[in-house]
Subunit: 340 residues, 2 copies
DNA sequence: CTGAAAGCGCTTACAG
DNA sequence: CTGAAAGCGCTTACAG
């Protein structure tokens, strides 16, 4: 650490007390305008910046937010899901807009996560973002709640889940996709992705799908194959699906990455997409529009999501009462389902 | 901020002095093992965490690094270049590995960037990552150097540039691409991207290209069209290129995003890629392998780059002498240039 | 091996 | 409007 000017140095140069310097720099209305200007001029000249540690220590808050990004350890370690990367981008921007610093960290679900950002006063609150097996981290969420940590999570909006959440309307997303497919004449749909309490978001998409199917008069549960959010997992799931049922004419995937893997598997088997089988994704990552054929999917508005996550958390930090936020699902129709 | 236990509370409970608590918690060899264990047990039980602000203030360093991501304000505001997003991911991981916290922030080149992370003691050093007009920020880099800020930048490795840099061998990348194209029988190459001191990295790629061309006996400067790193800019540049010269049979693009835009323009004009015109990108973002046809490009090893950026910076912070690092360029051959 | 004390650089109640 | 003083919660010389 270099030697830097302190507020005492400025006080000395300006011929005022250090308390006045502190007030002048924070634009306190208490200080005489002339004094304020003199102090600020000297500060500028000395390239003085108030020490964040001292200031946070004294004020007992840091005006910084911690973002914890969880990764499923089973996924390819070198690659982060583009959807979360995009969320990271929008959260960063939203923080800057609100005048908060952002601490970011990746965590593995498997290891003990040290969500001690607030306990150490590094941050005033935490944003949780990630995927993986929900049952494995539910306890940790409850613990966070017990400790009265300020946190908000991206995920399924459901009062049974600990913590305030911001999320897209997954049920609606699954519902819209299915309606679209039915409208296109598809009869035999399958779902690729987890569909149980281990991954509540996927599960809701699946439920939305089942609901649309029922409304259309089909009472059979659709065929469902597990997959995690990677291309490889999607590939394998599609292969498995093909061996189980050759009558499927549409595959609803729990994410774009899964869908892209599934399309590759179908094409490797010589099956035409969408001619023989339609494929739908979820997330609308950049890749989706470049897939071949371009992927019909559900757009999750990451810009809005990032802003909402940040403003909700700041509200919580300020002691406000906050309600969970549900962002509407937007169907994006491209070519992977064909035309009516 | 919630009421939390302090080291005094623990001292009281353990029946030792506060200094001993501090020592025990930091695993000082000075403290008796029995005492240490007792103190640590109480700390754990109370869920005590040392206050980062107090600790950093006293120790005069924060063990955190700031990452400043610059965006070209001319590019689409909602989308961050996937290449930089991927760098962000690897930097975050590398920081965690080294036990540093990471503060991330987006900055616009146009506005005054407040690189005061070290001045405020928020961070011990800064990583600079971004693109845009180099001539516009060269001064700021020099200022950072004058202020003795610890920083490392991603970019062209060249001693004339202020600050320590870590970067890929852009000259070599341009050279390898061009050799590959020549080997494939392409005769009339064009370059799409800035090729002057405003963007040193692109310029080096261009120089590598010229060098390979000269070696092959061609002494004309290749046709060059400016473009920034977006798909749209690549599209427009390709359109412009077509109006200028219809004899081009290969386009070397300064980035994958540009290449993808260029391919789209060519296809819109009914030109076969690679049949009539070969296209090469740069970066090897995830999208490249999904482009149609899959894009031949130069891989920039973001994992290695992130690690190197972080370890170099930490070295600097510790007062070590550090040399710039050049990462070799790796040609990734896919289908956008055809076969021999 | 342990404790009492100083001090990191601020902010803010208190007194004037 | 201004100053002297206390205190945020640690770490670390210093003394024993």
């Amino acid at each position: 650490m270099r030697d830097k000017a302190t507020s005492f140095d400025i006080a000395h140069m300006a011929g005022v007390s250090q308390s006045t310097v502190s007030r002048a720099l924070r634009n306190s209305p208490l200080v005489n305008q002339e004094t304020r200007e003199k102090v600020q001029a000297i500060a500028l000249q000395l390239n003085y910046k108030v020490d964040k540690n001292a200031s946070s220590l004294r004020q007992r808050h840091s005006r910084t937010i911690a973002l914890l990004l969880f990764e499923d350890p089973t996924s390819d370690d070198s690659m982060i899901n583009p959807f979360f990367l995009s969320m990271l981008g929008s959260i960063t921007k939203a923080c800057a807009l609100e005048g908060y610093d952002l601490l970011v960290s990746f965590q593995q679900y498997s290891t003990d996560w040290h969500a001690d950002y607030e306990d150490t006063n590094k941050a005033d609150g935490i944003i949780l973002l990630g995927y993986g097996d929900y049952m494995n981290y539910q306890d940790k969420l409850s613990k966070l709640e017990q400790q009265q940590t300020h946190f908000v999570r991206w995920g399924e909006v459901d009062n049974a889940h600990p913590g305030l959440s911001v999320g897209c309307d997954n049920f609606q997303g699954g519902y819209k996709i299915t309606q679209h497919l039915i409208g296109l004449g598809r009869k035999n749909l399958a779902f690729v992705g987890g569909a149980d309490n281990h991954c509540p978001e996927f599960f809701e998409r699946f439920k939305g799908m089942c609901h649309a199917l029922q409304q259309a008069g089909s009472n059979d549960k659709p065929l469902q194959i597990d997959a995690i959010t990677t291309e490889d997992s999607g590939y394998q799931a599609a292969v498995e699906l093909l061996t189980k049922d050759s009558g499927v004419d549409a595959i609803v995937c729990a994410s774009d990455l899964i869908a892209i893997g599934a399309m590759r598997a179908l094409q490797d088997k010589g099956i035409d997409v969408p001619g023989q089988i339609a494929v739908v994704g979820y997330d609308n990552i950049l890749l989706a529009s470049f897939a071949n054929p371009p992927l019909t999917t559900v757009h999750q508005n990451t810009k809005k999501a990032g802003e909402l996550l940040v403003t909700s958390l700041i509200g919580l930090i300020k002691g406000e009462q906050r309600e969970p936020v549900l962002i509407p699902a937007e169907l994006v129709i491209r070519e992977s389902c064909g035309r009516a």
